[in-house]
């Protein structure tokens, strides 16, 4: 018994000593495993970039595969209790838990990805992924032979619907015969379901796949079927060397460095950040040589135009699915409408799940 107590005392002592040194403690919570090769993987790459940039000034830690809801609230509370100064909560479903925990720990700063609720110590950030979708939509419209594009969608939230609309509009602009088939899998990360969805889309005639889910499962299926696909969140070319055309890459590192530096300097304030290709929060992966040279040039021109602000992917005229006018000729969508987007644009078949 005595030995156990001594061991415990020694443990407590080392624990308290280690918390004396004071690098800024930065925590991350992830909805998937860091090895998903998609969404969570890129957030973790951001964390690694942060460590590389700030070195000894910070100490990072993370918890992966945390379900959204009650479990995330517990993990966040424990991170705050154990002395974290800044916590990045990297999934939409962490929104209410983040706000709840932030209320209890006013001295801890929180950064919530893709949500819309802010507080004095909760900032939000997201990327304009729809800009990347416009680029892959353009490429898909030009490359498809069957004129059927398959789209694996996760949850019917504005973020995902916006991506579908952007990709469709830009495919349609270069190929009036293009059709988009959409399968909803109701999960961010479920390789088995994603693979089933990919197969179902191929059976419906799709020869190019896009996805808004996190695993490279669909890329594998595309490779086996000898068709094309785009990497999601991360470069997935090693999962489909022939299938992979390009990828929309989420690049969180620079934002994490900037915001963490602001906490160290004491200049951090709450707010909302929504950056895209221009600020390099969204990047396009290398183009495969399977894309014809002229299409590559068009895509690069589109990327450049979006980056310098000459072109907005949602520029009118655009009508809603029901035929009613949404944007007049030359009109640009405002961020508020984009953030709450819950309708398909004209030409997309099927209904958003209700």
């Amino acid at each position: 018994m005595k030995k156990i107590l001594m061991l415990a005392a020694a443990f407590l002592l080392t624990a308290s000593i280690s918390s004396v040194a004071d690098p800024l403690k930065v925590g991350f919570i992830y909805v998937g495993p860091t090895g998903d090769h998609g969404w969570t993987y890129e957030h973790d790459q951001g964390r690694i970039a942060l460590e590389a940039a700030l070195g000894d000034q910070i100490e990072t830690s993370f918890v992966e595969s945390v379900p959204e809801g009650a479990d995330s609230e517990r993990v966040l509370t424990q991170m705050a209790l154990s002395g974290h100064d800044l916590i990045y909560t990297t999934s939409f479903g962490y929104m209410d838990p983040t706000i709840n925990v932030a209320q209890k720990f006013p001295d801890v700063k929180f950064e919530h990805a893709t949500g819309y609720k802010q507080a004095d110590n909760v900032a939000t950030y997201s990327a304009r992924f729809y800009e990347g979708r416009a680029v892959i939509g353009h490429i898909a419209g030009r490359v498809t032979q069957s004129n059927v594009i398959g789209y694996i969608a996760s949850f019917p939230i504005p973020e995902v619907i916006r991506g579908i609309n952007s990709a469709y509009l830009h495919a349609k602009a270069v190929n009036p015969d293009v059709e988009m088939k959409i399968v909803w899998v109701f999960s961010w990360f479920d390789p088995a379901k994603e693979a089933d969805a990919a197969q179902a889309l191929i059976d419906q005639g799709a020869d190019i796949l896009m996805q808004h889910t996190d695993s490279p499962a669909a890329m594998n299926i595309a490779e086996d079927a000898g068709i094309f696909a785009f990497g999601q969140a991360s470069d997935m070319s090693k999962f489909g060397p022939n299938a992979h055309l390009t990828a929309i890459i989420n690049n969180w590192g620079p934002y994490y460095v900037e915001r963490t530096n602001a906490v160290i300097d004491g200049t951090w304030t709450s707010g909302d950040t929504w950056d895209g290709i221009g600020a390099e929060m969204v990047k396009m992966g290398p183009m495969s040589d399977k894309i014809p040279a002229e299409v590559q040039q068009e895509a690069q021109a589109l990327i450049a135009a979006i980056a310098n602000g000459d072109y907005h992917p949602f520029t009118g005229p655009i009508s809603r699915q029901d035929g009613s006018a949404w944007l007049n000729d030359g009109e640009i969508a405002d961020d508020g409408t984009l953030l709450g987007m819950n309708f398909y644009v004209e030409g997309i078949e099927g209904d958003i799940p209700q």
Partner: protein, 361 residues
Amino acid sequence: MLQLEPRLENSRVWIIATPVIAVLCTIIAGGAMFALLGINPVQATQTIFWAPLFDPELSAYARPQILVKAAPLILIAIGLSIGFRANIWNIGAEGQYVMGAIAAGAVGLAFYPLDAWYIFPLMFVAGLVGGAAWGFIPAMLKTRFGANEILVSLMLVYVAEHFLASVSLGFLRNPDGSGFPGSRNFQQYESAANPELIAGTGIHLGVIFAIFVVALAYALIRFHRFGYQVNLTGKSLRAARFSGVNPTKLTIACLCLSGALAGLAGMFELTGPAGQLTIDFNVGYGFTAIIVAFLGRLHPIGITAAGLLMALTYIGGELGQFMLNLPSAAIQAFQGMLLFFLLSLEFLTTYRIRFKLKRDA
């Protein structure tokens, strides 16, 4: 020469000793795994088993959180164990949990924003009925058509999950939620909320209810005729029939009872810690509870201990991730080892090992 001999009666010593040995084996095998991963094994096991209970910064919060995490597991496992004792295999508690939560949520939201004392009790009843009704479907199909309740109850989990997705996107969706799926947050609707009872602990009514159900189940199995019938049916259906058990009624009772408890677990989770019905509201309590039921040897006290142990490893595992950068896969493997050793060493309670010298004939 080693020989296994069945014991006439389960050994009381080994019932206590096997969990301790299993934990020690897990620490040794898991420690070896952590060492191979380049992580200090002493520190890792300390963080998983010790930190949630005794860490000076975290334990005040983590200790009650173990109860909060264990409560739905225990509640569901108690219900399942009663059926399992009678060889009635409800594998679909996850679906009953979801349906209980949906029923309770629908009732609560129907009253929104009315402020009245009776809303929460009505939601309680709705959770109970919702879960029981979902359990009644496999019961009816089994007793009427002989359909296998394992398959039917399992398949109904997927039906319930699709229904959950549909209501989160449809008729229970929060109209003020900017187009995002998910219901209103019940934590912010006082008449329907199941708030924490002691500030800063997270302890809610569901935890108290789980403790109450453990006591009730103990009394039921020990002293009530129903408990006797359940046990007898499990041992011999023929003998049970002769002693006047009606297998049809018993099947329906067991599946509805376990469904009701799962539904209530869903109701308490929805109105308390989770707060919101979303597409992925369920996180697997219904399936983990099956493990908890067997780990607890289908006994209420054992189930309580097993539920607490599972909750401890979950919370300790999270601490291990952000305190020591343990990968979550390593923690899952560690939890798997614990279950493996606990279940495999169980044979020591029912068998004895004899060392015998080989003799010539």
